[in-house]
Amino acid sequence: MSRDGARSVLRHFGTIAGFAALIVFNLAPIVWSVRTSLMAPSDIFAYPPKWLDFAITLEHYERIVKSGYFQTFRNSIAYSLAAIAIGLIVGLLAAYGFDRFRFLGKKAMFFLVVFCIPLSMGSSALIIPNYLYFSKLGLLDGWFTLPLLYTAYNLPMAIWIIKSGVEAIPVEIDEAAKIDGCSRFRFIFGIVAVLSRPVLAAAALFIFLGSWNEFILSSIMINKPDLRPVQLAIYQYLGFFGQEWGPLTAAASVAIVPSIVIFTFLGRMLISGLTAGSVKS
């Protein structure tokens, strides 16, 4: 066989191996879980496994709905939206401030922001501190508890992402607006915000994923069933349903829908945000 022939065989082999790996490791687990969630309990543990020949049932979904799953869904959406709203407003102000102004302590403050990016990723060191502090201040178990935390944890990264967009806006626009008598806040939330839509969207996406997927903080801060977010509910189902994989996989399958849908449409934005330098993982 010629060298080129060998190379092309190798390349085809690599492509097939790559696709096979992606299907087995990245798609199959999700498909398997969705499949389980649609099976009757007797089929789930059938041996040999029923690969396709099973009757579809929605009983597990009915069970999780009855146990109040949608309440937790609503909570997570509210927490995420609150964190996104505060994060974008406060983050845009900070990004603009850091980019356009010189002020006392600017370096130190920006250092703090960058320091907090990895710090909020290394959140295990913050679990006990946040718990003790919030319990001391009586801030545990409130409707505001998780939005506050989610905003603070995702804000450093949001500032970093938004700043990269604000930098690209020419200073001449600032001056023109000033001459036209546009107030600073109207300028920031009108013109700068509109011009930096892509980075605002990327930042919003990050805050969303960070808030929607967060688990450990909610598990220690929240006791009231009415205030539970989605991930905490799934974790508690693990104790509650035990080996009943029907309702467990049903809950898991529903929980990933928002992330997957948003990600499929805004994936490019997320990837560009990721490569903006550094990111939560």
């Binding site: 992606l22 687990p29 496994p49 990895p118």
Partner: protein
């Protein structure tokens, strides 16, 4: 001042608690009751605790093993996707990133179900003539499973950063090397790889941080068990606080964990060249 609200947020919610914890770590704080001043006794107790040492050792192994797998597989994926075009490349990226986008709770739950003795993995083992293996109940296999799931969820992240690095390698540099008679292998090792140093470094530091601090995956996948086989440092922290209710010890351990994190944070700030 425009940056004030943000800075206030970070100081009040992230920094002050850390300082408060240093204060707490010097007191007897069992069951959240503020007791006697203990000086460094909590720290001494942490250092004398064999379980914590075991836990720290295990964490280091899990952290680095997970990182190594992620970087190697992420690199392979990046090189592969780099050779694809347009929409194919985009969809491949999306699929590789799925485990990173879904929550760790769900990711760990998916694998917990796949590892189940009645699950497909054991079915295949049986079909090939092996006996059932309860992977998550086996003290030798459970840490491997933990490493696997941690690596699984971060491969996409490594891939994205490395792929961006590959894209930034100037085409003419590669062509020049080829004109000079370098084969593809040499182009990869001598031209591309050196230029990938920065993205690989950034990905590595972030993944070290992420693996070291990962509490969601062990919590859902194994709960630290069987026995203490997967009792990584974050699980131990959680136990000291929310199982034993010894918040003095937990605070001391948190502070030690923070110091380890600070080393990684400093590394992070070195590789991500930020400026104002």
């Amino acid at each position: 001042m425009l940056v004030a609200p943000s800075i206030l947020f970070l100081i009040v919610i992230l920094i002050v608690p850390l300082i408060y914890t240093v204060y707490n770590s010097f007191f007897d704080l069992r069951f959240l009751q503020m007791g006697d001043f203990l000086g460094f006794k909590n720290y001494a107790a942490v250092f004398r605790n064999r379980e914590i040492w075991h836990s720290l050792g295990l964490t280091i192994i899990v952290t680095f093993a997970g990182l190594a797998i992620s970087i190697v597989v992420g690199m392979l994926m990046a090189v592969w996707i780099h050779s694809c075009q347009g929409l194919t490349a985009y969809f491949l990226q999306i699929i590789v990133l799925i485990p990173w986008v879904i929550s760790m709770v769900v990711g760990a739950l998916l694998w917990k179900w796949l590892f189940n003795t009645m699950g497909p993995i054991n079915y295949l083992l049986n079909a090939w003539g092996y006996g059932n293996v309860d992977i998550l109940a086996n003290p030798r296999l459970a840490p491997c499973a933990l490493i696997f799931v941690m690596a699984w969820r971060t491969v996409g992240f490594a891939m994205v950063l490395i792929l961006a690095g590959l894209k930034s390698v100037p085409k003419d540099l590669e062509e020049a090397a080829e004109v000079d008679g370098a084969n593809r292998w040499n182009v990869f090792w001598r031209v591309r790889l050196p230029l990938l140093k920065t993205p690989v470094m950034i990905a590595s530091v972030i993944l070290l941080l992420s693996n070291f601090n990962n509490v969601d995956v062990p919590m859902v996948l194994t709960g630290g068990g069987p026995g203490n086989a997967t009792n990584v440092i974050t699980m131990e922290l959680y136990r000291q606080g929310f199982v034993y209710y010894d918040f003095g010890i937990a605070s001391a351990l948190s502070f030690i964990t923070l110091l380890i994190n600070v080393v990684l944070i400093v590394l992070y700030m070195k590789v991500v060249k930020y400026d104002v």
